[in-house]
Subunit: 254 residues, 2 copies
C-alpha cells in the first residue's frame, strides 16, 4: 500500500447513539492548497475503493488535475484502512463492529478537513457510486462549506431495488459455511468469489454486455471478467468489511 496519512479521532458517538472506539480515517492528499483556500476537492472512496483506487481520477490529463487542485482522498469506514471490522479493537472486532452511516463518515471527514487540515471551504465533493452518495451527504450535512458536488452513478437515497440487489450479493457471501456469522478465522473465500460473480452482473449495463464493452476493458469474454471480479473480492476484501459498507449503503438516505 502506498504512502498515506491517518487521523486518530478517539471515540466517536455515531448517529445511532453507539460509540465507534478509537476511530481513524486514512487519507491522502494531492497538490497544494492555494493562498485563499479555494481549490479544495474532496474525493471519498467508492464501495470497493481506496485512496489508491481513487488515483485513476487524478492526474494532469485526468478529471482532477493536482497541479490546480488540493485533493483530499478519504477512505470510507469499513474499507480496511479507515476504521473497519478487520482493524478494530477486540471489543468491536469483526462481527461486533457497529453499524456506520454515511452521516458518521461525513461527520468524521469534516473533523479531518476542519480540525487537522484547517480547511474552511470546499470547492467540490465528487465521486462515483458510494463516493457520490457521500457527495450528497457532504452537501446536506455541511451546506455552508460545500460550494459544489458532482456525484456520478449515485443517489441521495438507496432505492428499494438497489437494497434488494445488495441483499442478493450478501446472501451469496454468507452461503459459505466458513462465514460463521462473521466469526470466521479464515476468509470465506468461496462466498467472496460468489459475491464478486453476482456483483458483476449488476455493475454493468445491458448495453455494456450487448456491445461487448468488456473487450475494451481487456477481457476476452465475460468469464474472464467474472473470474477477475471473483478474485478481486477474494484476494483484496475482508467479508465483514464488505458487509459493513453494504449496510452503510443500504442506510443511505438524506
Amino acid at each position: 500500500m502506498q504512502h498515506y496519512e491517518k487521523i486518530k479521532l478517539g471515540n466517536i458517538k455515531l448517529l445511532s447513539g453507539k460509540i465507534l472506539k478509537s476511530a481513524q480515517l486514512v487519507y491522502k492528499t494531492y497538490g497544494k492548497l492555494n493562498k485563499n483556500g479555494s481549490n479544495v476537492i474532496i474525493l471519498p472512496t467508492f464501495y470497493t475503493g481506496s485512496h489508491v483506487r481513487n488515483e485513476g481520477f487524478i492526474g494532469k490529463n485526468r478529471a482532477i488535475n493536482p497541479n490546480k487542485y488540493f485533493i483530499v482522498s478519504i477512505n470510507m469506514f469499513g474499507n480496511g484502512l479507515s476504521s473497519s471490522p478487520s482493524n478494530s479493537t477486540k471489543s468491536q472486532y469483526g462481527s461486533k463492529f457497529p453499524t456506520i452511516t454515511l452521516w458518521d463518515n461525513i461527520y468524521c471527514q469534516h473533523k479531518l478537513i476542519t480540525e487537522k487540515l484547517k480547511i474552511k471551504n470546499i470547492a467540490l465533493v465528487t465521486g462515483w457510486s458510494m463516493a457520490g452518495c457521500q457527495s450528497y451527504q457532504w452537501a446536506a450535512q455541511y451546506p455552508d462549506m460545500v460550494k459544489a458536488i458532482l456525484p456520478f452513478c449515485a443517489s441521495s437515497k438507496t432505492s428499494t431495488h438497489n437494497h434488494v440487489f445488495l441483499e442478493g450479493v450478501k446472501a451469496a457471501l454468507i452461503a459459505d459455511k466458513n462465514w460463521k456469522k462473521g466469526n470466521y478465522k479464515k476468509q470465506p473465500v468461496e462466498g467472496l468469489k460468489a459475491f464478486g460473480r453476482v456483483y458483476a452482473g449488476w455493475a454493468f449495463s445491458q448495453d455494456f454486455y450487448r456491445e461487448k464493452l468488456y473487450k475494451k476493458l481487456g477481457y476476452k469474454n465475460t468469464e474472464e471478467l467474472l473470474k477477475d471480479w471473483a478474485n478481486d473480492h477474494a484476494k483484496n476484501w475482508d467479508a465483514n468489511n464488505l458487509l459493513s459498507k453494504l449496510k452503510t449503503w443500504q442506510l443511505n438516505d438524506i
Copy 2:
C-alpha cells in the same frame, strides 16, 4: 403432486451426440381435442415451473380456456418430473446428468405430441420466460406444425447479460460447501436460499420495486418477498436440477 401422465421415450440421442437414458416427459392435458384437431395449445414450463404451476394460466376466465382449447402442459427436462438429475438412473444421476438443450426438449415434446397424442397441428405454443423460449424453439424446429407462438418475457437467444446473471445465481448456490460439486447427500440448503435471494433482484423490474408492486402480491415488504423466494428454492428444488435447467437456458440459441 396432482395427477399427471407420463411418456417413456427410451434412450434419446441428444443434439450433443450424447444419450439421455430412459428419457421421460411428464405432462398433463386439459380440455378436449376438437374434431378437426385445430384447438391444440402447447404450454411448456418455465424455469421454476411445473404443469401445476402452469395452471395459473388455465381457466374459463383466464388466458387459456380449457372449454375451448386442448391444452398440453409439458414439464421441461430438469424440473424433477420429466427426466432430471434427481430422478435419473444411477449412471446419469445428479452431477452425471447430460447437458440438455431446448432442441432436445422440443424434439421429445414433438414425439409426445405426434406419436402418443396423434396431434397433427398446433394452434399455439405459448409460455413465460423459458417456456416462451421453447415457443421459439418449437416454431423453428417444426415450422410446418406450429400455426402461432406467443412467447412472453422470453428470447430466441439468451443474451450475454442474461448469461452473466445466471452465472451469478449459480455462484451463490455453489458457494455452499454442502454442494460438493453436485455430489451432495443432503441438499445445499443455504446455497439454494442464496440462489433464491439473488434471483429475486433480477426477476422483477425497477418499477416493480419502485412502485411497491410486491405489496399487490401480498408481501408486506421486500424482506418477506426475499424470504419467500429463498424458501421456495430450498423447499421445492433440487440443486442439480436447477443447474441443469440453467445450463439449458444459457445454451438457448436458435
